[in-house]
Symmetry: C2
Subunit: 564 residues, 2 copies
Amino acid sequence: MGNSKKIVIIGGVACGAKAAARARRLDSEAEITILERGNYASYAGCGLPFLIAGAVPSVDTLLTMPWGAIRDAEFFKNTKGINLLLRTEALKIDRENKTVTAKNLDTGETTDFPYDKLVIASGANPVAPPIEGMDLKNVFQLRRPDDAVGILNCIEEVDAENAVIVGGGRIALEVVDALMAQAVDSTIIELMDQVLPNVVDSDIAGILTVQLRKHGADVRTGERVEKLVGDDNGNVCKVITSKGEYKADFVVVAVGVKPNVEIAREAGLDITDRGTIAVDDRLRTSDPDIYAGGDCILNDDLVTGGKSYIPLGSTANKHGRVIGTNITGGDATFPGVLGTGFMKTVGLNVVRTGLSSAIAEKNGYKIETFLLSGHDVSHFYPGGKDMIIKLIADAADGRILGAQMIGAGNVPRRLDAVAAMITFKATAAQVGNLDMGYAPPFASAMDLLIHAANSLQNKLDGIAVSMSIMDFKKKLESDKDFCILDVRAESEIERSPVDKGNSRVLNIPIERFRDEIDRVPKDRDVLVFCATGTRSYEVQRALAMAGRESVFVEGGMHVLEKLG
Amino acid sequence: MGNSKKIVIIGGVACGAKAAARARRLDSEAEITILERGNYASYAGCGLPFLIAGAVPSVDTLLTMPWGAIRDAEFFKNTKGINLLLRTEALKIDRENKTVTAKNLDTGETTDFPYDKLVIASGANPVAPPIEGMDLKNVFQLRRPDDAVGILNCIEEVDAENAVIVGGGRIALEVVDALMAQAVDSTIIELMDQVLPNVVDSDIAGILTVQLRKHGADVRTGERVEKLVGDDNGNVCKVITSKGEYKADFVVVAVGVKPNVEIAREAGLDITDRGTIAVDDRLRTSDPDIYAGGDCILNDDLVTGGKSYIPLGSTANKHGRVIGTNITGGDATFPGVLGTGFMKTVGLNVVRTGLSSAIAEKNGYKIETFLLSGHDVSHFYPGGKDMIIKLIADAADGRILGAQMIGAGNVPRRLDAVAAMITFKATAAQVGNLDMGYAPPFASAMDLLIHAANSLQNKLDGIAVSMSIMDFKKKLESDKDFCILDVRAESEIERSPVDKGNSRVLNIPIERFRDEIDRVPKDRDVLVFCATGTRSYEVQRALAMAGRESVFVEGGMHVLEKLG
């Protein structure tokens, strides 16, 4: 074995463990060593919020293979012939002599590990914002299993009733949901003016916020955490923000992560201007014998053609596979990502891919969007659930740039389908013609995704003229004069955007519209309104063909209600 | 209005109704008339089995808009300004004078309808096989709402306990599931040697068959119905087949449909050699003023580049939209279909797209396939459900030609994603790198679809050497000498492909395999076996790198068990 290839891997969670396993399957002789500073390797990091919720019973569960084996050092040794060293921190890379110096965190002993190929899968660490009081007891960040266990222990020890969550991103909102399962009330403090900033648009964020509040979360946006205050025992007890103060039995800070690149930087490897390890599409660093993957690199952005920092376990696993191939003599490349992200919280599936409206505009695209509400199965089939679908296209050529969906329904299905199409730069028209699966238990004959794509195409073609629900809300709050032409049936208008008898509303059910079109005022803006945007579109078309300008409100009453 | 365009549409179910609605939204002046010979228009035909099951309470439900309006003639008139004539059968097209002659089926009166643009959406009728006794009472075919009501009435009238279903295709199997809900036992008689012939491969059909039988259906394949026998009252009471006879309180014949093209043929329009109305990609027939869509035309096949007859409501709606655009002066084309088909029966979602293995081979492709079993959410997350995924690729270039999936889990999500990719001629490697959504409530970090695509790529690369579960079953039944190397843990081997102590089996749990590799016999074929095909792949790789030939069994015990 003395002549066999030596592979050393720094970090053994997602990318590192996968690179090791793939390398082993392609090279039975290589000596493969993983240096992992934590207590666990190859754990499902994305499962940590569910450990807090109790949905996942123990840390071991996150380390378990489907057939029950636990991915500990013995498992790696026996099953894979891989040398996994836990609590072993890589300190330094000597590129000239091709060694990594690592310290055993228990004994303090350091050892040099020679390598032929080195993989840096050092991941990322939670950002610790420069707030006074971050070092108080019961202030947590969530990255490793011990963090989740720490939160659970704290809840029990202090009999916690309320927590402040600093940040309103994905992990923050998963933690809020988990804490509800533990009967802990959360206050979310988000600096930006919405939850999931840069992830979803304000409409989707608004719908999610209403649902979070319905479930008891106190959501505060556009608010800056100034200070964490401790009690006499050094336990956090209060959070002071730019707008107020909140009692807190504990605090979870989840404001993003930052790549761990110090060891690479010190070794003189190229670092990008965004602070990640520079790699090519084979995931090779500036040193041909060193590869890097996972949360410490940028990805090619398949939508913009640029680079994005989107750390995610699914991507890290793909990186590991590419690296495992390449360090054993193969030739694999990683094409890049769309930025697909899924989360589940307060009973809603929130899914997105590609560019958000704001990011698309920041990238110089002139965009057109469409938002539609409906069901995930045929409306006549029992058990259907709500979905809201929003598509974002390049107004110049109709290419889909991004999609966002929210609801209790099967939005993952529609999102992955559109993500697959965005990979190939599909247009709205192409999405509208996708041969999606159909049968009443699964979809309408025109699935909501197809319908949304067609509607967006109608908008791009100038056939459909609409107003977003957010703009409609703003208009409602303004003192402008306009007419809401509500074309719903009389039985439906109980739930209305405005109070009964409001002079702004004219109700003409669509069934009577053709006869009563002359009742529509000519001296005011006309906003056509219905339950979802289907009938209002039809009436907007009829008005347009009669030479009358109007706009219909996307999403209609269904979405307006969800916005609270 | 005398100068406005006259649009006549023959058939008002899916394509016809959609063409009319789209045309109306683009041309408010046109006179639009739908001639529909049935009692209903614009009903959800795919919902008929669920009407039988009782999941859909009434025919009206299939005619209802999401907001409660019923799509009757009054609805079409008032809401859309469309003239819908029910029970009005188009008899003849006079292309020279541009009129359609139609008969009122109640009064017998005929009327000529002049047209500027004509749409033929005449659909398809169930094939009536040339079997003696087809004209007996209580012999049904399922095409229109009245047929479903007829079956329900019959069940009540004769207090039916058992039915014979002639055919084992999608509608047949949906009906079987529906009849279970009505406590009627079904016997399925399928001429071909599997259910869903030409739709799914024998492995997926086998899994479905086992489940059908578990639910009490008597599935007979490779059996020809010879005769339906009636009692003294002219009611069917028995079905005689090539292999036996079966008592039947009623019979449902569902052996496919055939396009209704007589009116087009008699008008001298081009008819394809497959008996459909010939159209171009704008869905225009050989007469530039006549369009056709829905179940009476062929579609471009996006996989083979040829033509396919795949009648489906979702496709018919897309046709209608294209036609509605084109007959009002627009320019839309229909790109074609993949052959995506979904069904739900006996608790299983059965979904497919593209070419089946047999059809791919018939089209001259040399194929490679991979089948994998797993869960639809992270295995550590509660509530996950089973999925089996099979991918079919062109062995020459790795392009995915088709996919089939079965299980209680969210296979629609994975199927639509791969369908979207097949639209763009994606390879297995591209599917393996798809940026699918990930979070533990939705998927594993490496989703089963990604895993299946990677495995197929490994096979194409010669890295993975496997045997299909069907070939393994055949081998088990043969008297050949071979070794099943079972690498599962001892706790798992209770459920095994062979009896305990069988000399063909050698159990070496994967954890011990590296030490005990010398125990693997050299004088026999070695078939590596585990629960799903994951560990067995790893061992096959280890053997290969030690210079030893072996194959691993795709799907492993999980799939073998489902095959009964």
